[in-house]
Amino acid sequence: MFKTKIKLIKDNKVYSRPAVGSAILLMGFALLLLSIGLAISVGAAKINFLTVWNSILNYDPTREADRIIVSLRLPRELGAAIVGAGFAVSGAIMQGMTRNPLADPGLLGLNAGASLALACVFAFNTGANYLTVMVISFIGAGIGAAMVFGLGSMSRGGLTPIRITLAGAAVSALLSSLGEGIALYFKLSQDLAFWTAGGVSGTNWEQLKIIVPVVIVGIAVAVMFSRQLTILSFGEEVAKGLGQRTLLTKCILMTVVLILAGAAVSLVGAIAFVGLMVPHIVRFLVGTDYRWIIPCSAIFGSVLMVLADTFARTVNAPYETPVGAVVAMIGVPFFLYLARKGGRKLS
């Protein structure tokens, strides 16, 4: 038994670079603080770094700069950071679980499901508070994911990456069409459109109070189960051979994915590609050990989203460019590269 275990692990070569991982965590954190600082200081009202620092430490509501920073820009950037972490970690978990390098909450129907759910909320219950909105996004994301995975596993030959991606495209098309239909029917197309394109502009402290703990707990659970995820990423048989209760692990991890993606979508709308790109970059840097991949993905995702949001806000001022579009434009070449590299292997 023990020998087979060793063999299984050797065959699958976990390679891990703890030194690089810790360096990334530290530097990533510094980079995150720096980019948040930068993000707060640029924009319509120019504010220098020192003022930012000052206004956070001793907030004075009579100063205009302080009010802008604390009530508008800081929550926005924190929102971007938390959402980036949520998307990136849920993408990392999905890629490990499905062994599908193209997995991402946007490509697998979660985002579309959550968007449809949100369209329903806007249409039927406009007075809903943020907690309700978030819970309903979870449910929508869950429905989308269940459809994609159900469809993928129904087919002969099982869940190959190409099959899942196509199923994701079909489910996304269906759910977003339904959402669009509802939006047109109830004439809320325009409200929803900007939101769907992805924007963190309206984030306030009330929302953050709910979403931050949820995402942090989700990431913590993901880190707790990251060893099991590493083993699962070798394949189900291997994991079973090593004595893992794969069904339980998968259920827990899937729940984490739904919570993270649902929470993120409920705040900024459907943003694809953060969950796709970040884990790949991180894997390239720290190796295939998910104990490092998950925390590093969280940090990287945060930095990416904060920078993308800052770019979106300033590139075309005073217009706001939807951050989702910025991310898609960075993400697509990356997706194309992956598809090109792995096109044949994936089928």
Binding site: L166, A169, T321, A339, G343
Partner: protein, 335 residues
């Protein structure tokens, strides 16, 4: 060559499809805002309608019905070509991202010219065509690998990815439009058949009249291209040239159709499949049937959408997707 039994099957299927199309036509005229009963319709067609009846039929209903029929045919034939050339049963101009490219150009166009300007009507399909062709070229180049050619799986993945990017870009641009242009764009993307004037019929007609018969003329080439590459070379088809030519035809048909009808996916996917299951895989037989089924699907979807929400309607593209996505999923599960 087709034997007598096959020819009979094609005739039966064609006849059934035409009857169904006529039935939907009658339903379409008879339902919704300002409708005509079948007897009023008959009277109007033979030229004895009241002015009101003439107005309803010739100014309101007929142009839109013709646009739906023509666009449905264009999309169906486009999908059939793409499926045969890529040897991938899941190909469709919408899924491969060609519609998204056309859509981006449509939004670019309405940023510079307003919806009302008169040149708009004729030039818009050309803009959509340019966008569609450019997208197709990028997809082709991106999925081409030396020594391997265009591998179908990669082609679809590249298409799905590119569609997402173009959609993002379109959305970005469209948030800068004013209310009226924005609402036009949102409806266009959702696949509302907006061209409901004779002018749109006229601007779409040449494309369909030219390219659909051309495709049927090329049936034998498509038959061989659908086989293994070596076979096509063996029987003397210039594979590279014919393939590119036919892809351009497919893109032109799709772009011209979506320019007038809006971004509609899944018609191009479903129609060829249904046709093939009715009359078999020979292009001589199934292309005309596929074109008819495309027309039926789009006209039915537009009629349903129009009746559900009177008078503004649910865009046909949404209805088609709600029917088409489950069908796509069924194909995916069966394949």
């Amino acid at each position: 060559m087709m034997n007598a039994r096959q020819i009979k099957r094609v005739r039966v299927a064609t006849f059934a499809a035409i009857s169904l199309l006529i039935a939907i036509f009658i339903v379409s005229v008879a339902t919704g805002f300002a409708s005509l009963t079948p007897s009023e319709l008959f009277r109007t067609i033979i030229g004895q309608g009241t002015p009101r009846e003439n107005l309803i039929l010739f100014e309101f209903r007929l142009p839109r019905i013709f646009v739906a029929i023509l666009a449905g045919m264009g999309l169906a034939v486009s999908g059939a070509i793409l499926q045969s050339i890529t040897k991938n049963p899941l190909s469709d101009p919408g899924i491969l991202g060609i519609n998204a490219g056309s859509g981006l150009m449509v939004v670019v166009y309405i940023m510079f010219f307003t919806v009302e300007s008169s040149s708009f009507l004729y030039v818009l399909p050309l803009f959509a065509l340019a966008g569609g062709l450019a997208t197709a070229a990028v997809i082709y180049v991106m999925s081409y690998k030396k020594g391997e050619g265009v591998e179908p799986t990669r082609l679809v993945l590249v298409g799905v990815g590119l569609a997402a990017a173009l959609y993002g870009a379109t959305l970005t641009l469209s948030t800068r439009l004013d209310m009226e242009d924005y609402s036009f764009m949102a409806n266009w993307m959702a696949g509302r058949i907006w061209g409901d004037d004779w002018i749109f019929v006229l601007s779409l007609l040449p494309w369909i009249l030219l390219l659909v018969p051309y495709t049927m003329f090329k049936s034998n080439v498509l038959n061989t291209l659908n086989l293994h590459e070596n076979v096509s070379v063996g029987v003397g088809v210039n594979v590279g040239r014919e393939r590119i030519l036919l892809i351009m035809v497919a893109v032109a048909l799709a772009s011209a159709s979506v320019a007038v009808s809006g971004g509609i996916a899944f018609v191009g996917l479903m129609s060829p499949h249904i046709a093939r299951s009715l009359v078999g895989p020979r292009h001589q037989a199934f292309l005309p049937v596929a074109a008819l089924i495309g027309a039926i699907l789009l006209l039915a979807a537009d009629t349903i959408g129009r009746v559900i929400l009177d008078p503004s309607g649910i865009p046909a593209g949404i209805i088609v997707t709600i029917i088409g996505a489950p069908y796509f999923m069924y194909l995916l599960a069966k394949k």
